[in-house]
């Protein structure tokens, strides 16, 4: 019985799939020198970002079966941790004087003052630690609950985090958000790796993070931890009776997932250079993170990659009304006709609606995700051939 083992949760990759993986990774590394356009790199960065988020969620949601719909909290922790420290490191003398004044009454201001002395890039670490602590707190509360109750609790706790960040304005600048005009150069020792003059460095950072999350997922899948996570997903009472500590393993899965998600948040923050609670801490984002995994296929290494490959272009095409525009510009549809009018006026505004409908269709007809759907198609073909 042959199978695409690299695409499933079984052991051992087939040599063919491994070669394909290596070739694709090499092509991805060469991509910026092959394709000049900054827009294509932008799309790739969005793909990477989605993949990192999906892979991270997959560890707790896909492998351990705990559907956290509050991952924006960890994403926000990474994004805010990075931005706060980076912003503080760029304070000028006036701002520092003002802070010193404020610091007498406000702990948060004194915290910012001490952040000023940190290396700007340590914010990423700060974000990871914040996400880790947050995951342990959230885990200790939410894992008392099971199934749908856990989902609801995870949403609620993430909302608490959002509202807290909104109100800790001394530290987070509240609803205004934090904007950074220039990123400090990324250095190791005294060597400058990049000064972010274009978007190529973001491409490589994203690619490396994608490879990191895939590697971590692979490690999990091929370890005792992965077996225990999956056992908990399949039947937690049975897992419990077989000597698996539910509390420890659920929290371990959440912590791992949270730290990786915070990396996605940090990556987003330095790429967009702006964070505010509505973009990095919203329920929308939490749902988006879950969708990437579910659409692609949960509990598999490459499911989230497929999910990102489906969702990012889909949202991009719909947002830019690419289909409508090209139909009109190719002359197939007259822009003055009723249909043309519908395409330009109505459809372009309804892109979120269409996106939603397509997502529902995928979930209805491909319950195991796109990857699972194609896998069962291949299996069926094989069966017919045999």
């Amino acid at each position: 019985m042959t199978r695409f083992s690299i695409f499933t949760n079984r052991r051992g990759a087939s040599p063919l799939a491994l070669i394909a993986f290596v070739v694709i990774v090499c092509l991805l590394f060469a991509f910026p020198s092959l394709v000049e356009s900054p827009y294509s790199r932008h799309i790739m960065v969005l793909l990477f970002l989605s993949t990192i988020m999906g892979e991270s969620w997959n560890i707790i949601g896909g492998y351990t079966g705990q559907y956290s719909v509050g991952h924006a909290a960890y994403f926000g922790a990474g994004a805010y941790g990075t931005m706060i420290v980076m912003n503080a490191s760029q304070f000028d003398a006036d701002k520092l004087l003002e802070l010193q004044d404020l610091a007498k009454d406000s702990r948060l201001s004194s915290l910012l003052l001490s952040a000023h002395d940190l290396h700007p890039w340590t914010g990423v670490l700060v974000g990871m630690v914040a996400a880790l602590l947050l995951s342990l707190i959230i885990g200790s509360i939410c894992f008392r609950l099971r199934g749908p109750y856990f989902v609801l609790a995870s949403i609620a706790v993430a909302e608490i985090v959002r509202i807290t960040v909104l109100n800790l304005a001394d530290l987070t600048q509240g609803a205004e958000g934090i904007l950074i005009s220039t990123l400090p150069p990324l250095t190791i020792g005294n060597t400058v790796i990049t000064d972010f003059s274009n978007n190529v460095p973001f491409y490589y950072i994203g690619l490396l993070l994608v490879l990191l999350t895939i590697f971590v997922t692979w490690l999990v899948q091929n370890s005792k931890l992965g077996y225990f996570f999956q056992a908990i997903r399949e039947d937690q009472d049975a897992a419990h009776s077989l000597g698996i500590s539910l509390t420890f393993h659920k929290n371990a899965a959440l912590a791992l997932s949270a730290v990786l998600t915070s990396l996605a948040g940090s990556f987003y923050a330095i790429y967009i250079k702006f964070v505010d609670p509505t973009t990095v801490l919203s329920l929308d984002l939490s749902v988006q993170i879950v969708l990437i995994s579910i659409i692609g296929g949960i509990g598999t290494i490459f499911g989230p990659v497929v999910g990102a490959l489906v969702l990012v272009p889909l949202s991009e095409v719909l947002r830019s009304n690419l289909i409508g525009e090209s139909l009109i510009s190719s002359g197939m549809v007259n822009s003055d006709s009723a249909f043309g009018h519908f395409l330009t006026e109505n459809l372009s505004h309804a892109h979120v609606l269409i996106y939603g409908i397509l997502v529902v269709v995928v979930i209805l007809f491909m319950p195991d995700g796109v990857l699972g759907f194609f896998k069962s198609m291949v299996a069926k073909k094989r069966k017919e051939a045999a």
Partner: protein, 237 residues
């Protein structure tokens, strides 16, 4: 030597006594049958013993150690493990992966766990199903898988909750042989079973529960002649 002592165990759900003042002992290496009409409290007793519920009163001593309040995973690590009346396969994992989860209870190496798992799969004769998804197995094989999985945790005491339920006579016979094989491995067993013929054949000793209380205890031959047991099962004037 008694491997398990149940001392005056009671379990209340609100005002309902699912078990009240149950006491008995299991000797090392024996097979203890636990029988009783529906609702007699057999499964509740299993849940109390394996840590799913703390007993309301009384004490459970396993291998010289008080077990009250220990979580099921700790109970398993100490060498006592149960199967489920309604089988609980890890459906999307293969047969060998299911058994490996049990084996990983005492080892960190996947390779070693796999060897241990294969050994237990041979014991229950499921070699031909090694790479199948557990969710796709017929009921008879699911029950065997359940047994292989608990055997892989290297238990001293096995609690089997209706392993023959829903099986045809040929499959039941296989499970009976399996239980006898397990006894030969030196593992003590406590078996809940409704099939009277089977339980009389395999048990060294039988405890009868009725309405949460221990009604009788003795060798199979004594139990069938016990008028109270007959009355509990068939009803009496």
């Amino acid at each position: 030597m008694a491997i398990l002592e149940i001392k005056h165990v009671s379990k209340f759900f609100g005002g309902l006594a699912a078990n009240s003042d149950v006491s008995f002992q299991l000797e090392q290496g024996m097979i203890m049958g636990l029988i009783g009409p529906n609702g007699a409290g057999k499964t509740t007793l299993f849940n109390c013993i394996t840590g799913y519920y703390p007993p309301s009163r009384g004490e459970i001593v396993f291998d010289g150690r008080r077990m009250n309040g220990l979580q099921p995973n700790k109970v398993c690590k100490l060498g006592m493990v149960r199967t489920w009346q309604k089988v609980r396969p890890l459906a999307k994992m293969s047969v060998v992966d299911n058994v490996m989860v049990g084996a990983l209870c005492h080892t960190n190496s996947l390779k070693k766990a796999r060897e241990m798992a294969m050994e237990q799969i041979r014991v229950v004769r499921l070699e031909h199903r090694t790479d199948f998804n557990a969710g796709g197995l017929p009921i008879g094989e699911r029950k065997k898988l359940e047994v292989a999985r608990v055997l892989a945790t290297q238990p001293k005491l096995l609690l089997l909750d209706e392993v023959m339920g829903g099986l045809n006579p040929a499959e039941s016979e296989e499970v009976i042989q399996l239980i006898l094989d397990i006894r030969r491995l030196g593992i003590t067993q406590m078996v809940i079973e409704h099939d009277m013929k089977a339980i009389m054949r395999i048990s060294d000793r039988i405890v009868v529960l009725n309405s949460g209380e221990k009604l009788a205890e003795g060798a199979p031959g004594e139990i069938v002649k016990n008028p109270e047991v007959v009355a509990a099962y068939l009803g009496s004037e």
